[in-house]
Structure formats: structure tokens, C-alpha cells
Amino acid sequence: MTIDATLPGAMPRPARRARPARWEAGIGHGLMILTALICVFPIYWMIVTSLRPENAIFSTRLWPDTASLENYAYALRAVPIRQMLVNTFIVSFTVTVIQLVTGILAGYAFARWRFRGSALFFGAIALTWLVPLQVVMIPNYLLVSRLGMIDTLGALILPHVASAFAIMLLAQSMRSFPSEVIEAARMDGASHAHILWQVIVPNLRGTLASLAILIFISTWNEYFWPLLLSRTPENSVVQIGLQMFITSEGTQWGPLMAASTMASLPILLIYLVLQRQVIASFMKSGLR
């Protein structure tokens, strides 16, 4: 998708549409390679640092002279990272599925039903998107603690069962779904459920896949809310595990980087796998 930036179609002036000069494309590519390097470097540095022995941890050489997995072994011993990764995965996966479902249902209602006060409801939902986590943190904490859910994975999921972003995005894409197709389905005898799940949703695969990636990653990276709720490492998520290497006696950089690498690997993998799926489904679903 980033390649688009250098395609002639992205140029504003029609005169340039026909044939972008060679050097223009060259500059475009050069800029993008530079940007990509800047983005990738911290990840590279994290991995390199995680492989350095303790005495070379602050070395500024671009390439590690000696690689060791000592930091990984230590990190796995010090903190139940495997359990935490599993927990994080469960939480992220569940939140993703639930948010997609609630988003699809609410989005359909907003897109297809005219009811009294629907604009008001939609506005209210849009507003919750603007309210920062810090504002709702305390009420939510009180709620889950009354429910006796402190130190459980359920408490990590509960505040995320619906998201304004998912609802608004899906309502918008459902509004732009061709209404004739929906009317044809009504003539064919389809109920609202049929129309939603058999006609609209299969055609929104691209949107849903990208949305799923966004939700999954943001849940995976969440830190404050789990920090507030977690009591025991075994019931916690991997972001909390990372924080355990930052202590009052100082930061254990090697193990921290090793743990960070382990925490981000699944995300990278999922992104790589789904990214291909997203692009494919964008091309496949194309209405018309």
C-alpha cells in the first residue's frame, strides 16, 4: 500500500499523471526506504541488544560480535513469560472477536435502521471514543472489583466488549454498501440476520480483517489497565511481565530486550500472515 505514494495516480496535478519523471520516482523510493529504515531500526536494535552478553549491553556497534541466548534463558526463568503470552493471546483474541461482533451488530443497526434518536446514540458513541482511558479507569476499576473480577482475565476483557471505533467504522462501511443488493435480498426473502451475515459481512472481509488486526494489536499492547488489575504474574499479560525487569535497583536491559522480542514476535507473525490476507480480500471482495 505504501507503494501508492509514488504511483502517478497519487500525484495531484493531472499534467504529471501521464508519465512521472524517472528521478521523481527515484526520490520517492529513496524517501520510503529511509522511512522504512527509521521504523525498523528500533526493532532491530531490540533484537541485537537481546543477543548481547551483559558486559556488552551498551555497545553501540551495529552488529553484535558474539551472540548468546543467555538473556532469553534468564527472562524465561525470572518471569512466567510463556503463561503470560498465552494469557495475552487469550485476552487479545477474545476482545477482537467480541468487538467485531458487537461492532457488526451495532454498525448494522445504525446503517440500516432509522429509529428515534439514532443520531443522538451515534453521537454519544462517537463521544466515548474521545474520552481518554484515564477518565473511565477508576469507574471501571470499581465495577470489576465489585464483580469480584480483580486479577482475572475476564476483567481485562470486560471493558473492551464494544468499541466506538469499530462501531463507527463498520457503520460507515455498511452505509456505503449498495442498497440495491440489500433490496434484492429483501425481495429474495432474507431477514435482517440473513442480510447482515450472509450478504453484507462476507463482502466486508477486507474491512473486518484490517479492523481485527488493529484491535488485536492495540489489545496486545495494552499496559495501564492490566497494570491496575494484575496481582499475580500467572494471571497477567506479557506487558506486565516486561515491566518486571524495570526495578528500583535498575533496569535489566538484556533480559528486558529478550522478553520484549518474545512479546512482539507473535504480533509480527500475525501481522505478516494477516496482512497478506487483508490485501487478498480487498482484491477479492471488491464490490462490482
Binding site: 443488493v181 434484492a184 429483501r186 432474507a190
Partner: protein, 372 residues
């Protein structure tokens, strides 16, 4: 009793009324074409029959049952949309079979019906393709397949051919008629294309700004248009309309050439004004401008079989069919004589047809007049 009967049907969007109290009926098995300029309310009417739009007031009955509050699926009608409205993610077979799947028909029966319909429409080789991989004509056929697979008693078509190229449109026009003969279900087709309307309809409904102008067989609507609107809308090139009055000798005087009087008999008092309508093929051409309306031949449009003469009479343009043997060139002076065949007269105030019988000009062709 008509198969579909519509009484005092009105439709309002917010505070504007799109349909102003329509009354009409469709007989069982007939092919009705609703024609009118775009924005006149054809789609609204069709969608109200289908149940996709609510009824503001009035009544729609199908097979003797008032269906105002029925769901679209319960009205026993199928609709074909202008943009085909196929399900993009389903194969052709799944598209056609979807109504049956919703009706919970067993899979084997479903497949059999889909194959049968595909056979009728020549879609068998494409059953596994997706809509995107089909041409416009093929998509149109899939949309038709999805409609006929349910074996509805009433077909509704909203401009089904207007997205096709000219050649395909002519072909599909014939296929639609053939299909109608085969299925003999009542069909209602909406179009803004008057040729489509004239060629396909058993009965024509001409609409204009939310009202019905005329209902009747195409030949009759063409021969005796009920208003200046219908007269101008049907026929290509359009009927010539002149303001005219009855002359002192009982003949016709056109305001374009007030000093000349043409033979013709109308049951109107001398001096009374009206709108005279003459189809281009009913206009006689004299090779000099001493008789008839004095005109200059501005442009000849050669349609292959016929040639249309676009003439200028003063500021006005008049069209006439040029006789095959005519040697007139562009720029020539000529005389245009209304008649001798059919003339039409309409009220100057209401635009409605003045006499119920054709006001045929009783003109005897004179020496200088060539009869087309």
C-alpha cells in the same frame, strides 16, 4: 378484476409528493411497460408495488389481496434491478439459488431448479463464476435467473436494459419478450426509453411528473396521444406541435404562417386556437415554398431507410420525413403541408387531446404535394 390493482396511490417524501394519486390495473399475464422521463416517479411506483417503499396513502392489491403492509418477500413478486444487484461474493449458481436457500428448499431440489433456470437463460457454462467475471448481458441474465427461479406470478423490472450496450439491449429486449411468453407471468417493466416501451409493451402506461398521462396499447397511444406530453414523448423524431387556429374558411391556420390556410376539418368554432400536432411522417413536402409553411431545409439526417428533414420555419424547427425520391438539398426552400394523413389537435390550455376521434385531415393531395 385486474391481477394488480392500484387505487389512489400517493407517495410523499418528506413534504414533496412524488406520486399524486394513481389509478391503474395490470391484467394477469400481460406485459406492461411504464414509460416516462427520468424523475417522473416510475421507480417509486414499481418499488411501492414491490414493497420496498411504504405507501403514503391509497391501496395496492395483488391477486385480490391488499398488500400495503406485506413484506416484499410475501407479495409473490420478483424484481430485477438496473444495476443487477447480484451478490458479489456468491457464484452464479449461488446467486440464482439464494431465494430457494432462504425458502429452505432441500439442496438437491435447489440444484435441479438452478440448473433448469440456467439452461433457459444459457448460463450453464458460467454457474461457477462470480458476477465480476461476467459481461453486462450475462449479469443481467443472472439477475433474471434469480427472479424466475422462485416462479413468481409478477415480475418487476426497473430499467433492466439501460446499463447494456445498444446491441445487447436489442437482443435482451427480444429475450425478455420470449421469456415472458414462456413463463406467462404478469410483467411490469419501467423504462425511460420510448423505443423499448413501444416494442415491448402489450400495454403502455405513460407517466409524467407523478401522474399517469395515458394507458393503452402502444399502437393506440402512438396513433392517438391523449396529451401534448404523450405526443411529444413518444415517436422519434418527436411530433411537431404548432399553435394554430381555425381559419375563416374553416381550415387550419398556423401561427407560423398566419396568412395561409390549410384544408382540414375540426369541430371547432372559427377563430378558436388550439395546438396542432403533426408527426414527421404525416408532413407533406412541397418542393417550392409557395404552398404550405414556407421553410428552409436546414439539415438532412439519413437513418438508412428513411431520411429526416430538419426544416426551419421562421424561428421554429419542424421535422418531416423526406420522400425517398426527393432530390432536395440542404439549404433548399420548400413548403411544409400538414397532412394529408393524420392530424392531432390539443387544447391550448390543458394540453389534452381535443376530440376523441382522430382529427384526420381531409386533405386532397394537390399537384405540388408529394405524399410520403
Amino acid at each position: 378484476m385486474a391481477y394488480v390493482s392500484i387505487r389512489e396511490l400517493r407517495k410523499s417524501y418528506d413534504d414533496t409528493e412524488a406520486l399524486h394519486g394513481l389509478n391503474l390495473g395490470f391484467e394477469e399475464g400481460e406485459f406492461v411497460v411504464i414509460v416516462g422521463p427520468s424523475g417522473c416517479g416510475k421507480s417509486t411506483l414499481l418499488r411501492m408495488i414491490a414493497g420496498l417503499e411504504s405507501v403514503t396513502s391509497g391501496e395496492i392489491a395483488i391477486a385480490g389481496q391488499v398488500v400495503n403492509d406485506f413484506d416484499p418477500a410475501d407479495r409473490g413478486c420478483a424484481m430485477v434491478f438496473q444495476n443487477y444487484a447480484l451478490y458479489p461474493h456468491m457464484t452464479v449458481a449461488a446467486n440464482i439459488g439464494y431465494p430457494l436457500k432462504l425458502a429452505k428448499l432441500p439442496r438437491t431440489e435447489r440444484d435441479a431448479r438452478v440448473r433448469q433456470v440456467a439452461e433457459i437463460l444459457g448460463l450453464t457454462p458460467y454457474l461457477d463464476r462470480r458476477p465480476k467475471q461476467l459481461s453486462g448481458g450475462q449479469r443481467q441474465r443472472v439477475a433474471m435467473g434469480r427472479a424466475i427461479v422462485r416462479e413468481p406470478r409478477l415480475f418487476l423490472f426497473d430499467e433492466p436494459l439501460s446499463n447494456l450496450d445498444a446491441k445487447m439491449r436489442v437482443q435482451m429486449r427480444i429475450e425478455l419478450r420470449r421469456l415472458h411468453r414462456q413463463l406467462s407471468a404478469t410483467s411490469v417493466l419501467v423504462t425511460h426509453d420510448q423505443i423499448e416501451a413501444m416494442t415491448m409493451a402489450d400495454r403502455l402506461v405513460v407517466m409524467n411528473s407523478g401522474r399517469i398521462e395515458q394507458i393503452g396499447p402502444p399502437s393506440e397511444v402512438y396513433a392517438r396521444p391523449a396529451s401534448t406530453f404523450v405526443a411529444g414523448f413518444l415517436g422519434s423524431p418527436a411530433m411537431n406541435l404548432f399553435t394554430a387556429r381555425i381559419g375563416a374558411e374553416g381550415g387550419i391556420q398556423c401561427d407560423l404562417a398566419p396568412d395561409r390556410e390549410f384544408p382540414g376539418r375540426l369541430d371547432l368554432a372559427p377563430g378558436s386556437a388550439f395546438v396542432l400536432g403533426v408527426r414527421p411522417e404525416d408532413m407533406s413536402i412541397a418542393e417550392t415554398d409557395t404552398s404550405g409553411l414556407p421553410a428552409v431545409l436546414d439539415l438532412i439526417e439519413d437513418l438508412g431507410g428513411t431520411r429526416i428533414a430538419h426544416c426551419r420555419v421562421g424561428e421554429a424547427f419542424v421535422t418531416a420525413v423526406l420522400p425517398r425520391e426527393s432530390r432536395l438539398r440542404e439549404g433548399a426552400r420548400l413548403g411544409l403541408l400538414p397532412g394529408p394523413r393524420q392530424l392531432h389537435a390539443f387544447s391550448l390550455e390543458t394540453g389534452l387531446r381535443l376530440t376523441s376521434t382522430a382529427t384526420a385531415g381531409t386533405l386532397a393531395p394537390t399537384e405540388s404535394v408529394t405524399v410520403p
